[in-house]
Assembly symmetry: C2
Amino acid sequence: MAPDAPIATIEAKVIGHVRSAIADEAVPRRRRDMVVDIEVLPEYRAALTGIEAYSHLFVLFWMHKAARADTPMLAHPHGNKDLPEVGVLAARGRNHPNPIGLAVVELIGHDGLRLTVRKLDAFDGTPVIDIKPYDGYDQVEHLRLPAWWKRKK
Amino acid sequence: MAPDAPIATIEAKVIGHVRSAIADEAVPRRRRDMVVDIEVLPEYRAALTGIEAYSHLFVLFWMHKAARADTPMLAHPHGNKDLPEVGVLAARGRNHPNPIGLAVVELIGHDGLRLTVRKLDAFDGTPVIDIKPYDGYDQVEHLRLPAWWKRKK
């Protein structure tokens, strides 16, 4: 490889895991109200200091149970054939080139290595790769969305 | 390793790169108005189909120039010693366990492999690992933030 060839893959450390008593099958239905814990690895205990000052967080997780075979580049959102087929990067499905989940969650509690959060639609045991506070720069008031987005509900 | 030992690292594919004429040194100062391109790799052209229907996107990128040495678990936000030291996961700095950047950007244009976006505070050549539409579930109206967050401006 040439010295300045672009990198093709990156390697990220798992920093914690989702701990949940909710069965995988129930996650899609319960995603909007489900409360789960994130348990960070002991070496990241201090990195959570002060996080309870925020009401909301972003959680980045690795959807380890998502299919990793060659996924198509176009798909019907939510697998719903009544909705138009769009590029996979133009929807929030589990079929992106990388199975990285991004959730906006409400932070309910912080106790040592544990964060208790609402609206994290991830399975028990899911590896977490980053946690970031949701702050004022992340608030967007007026959004333009595709016509199908409201129809999907 | 035991068959069901938890995974310690994950490997993600680079799906594109930031293309920008702005010098690295100017990025922190210009982050709120800077306009750059994201160029996806040719194999992901179709995955962008329909993305122009959104006004805003999340961009996940790999801060390849960030220090990877043992970073401390506590830091002053923005390196500003007038602000209280907090855990690195309780602020949006470049010193997280993984150098993953998350930006909310305004989508200005889509032309083939290129997305033109505003407010992506990343250097030229930065690898991109995911692009996700920002949708109505990502809007949080009322936030609680640490007292220092408003003081930092």
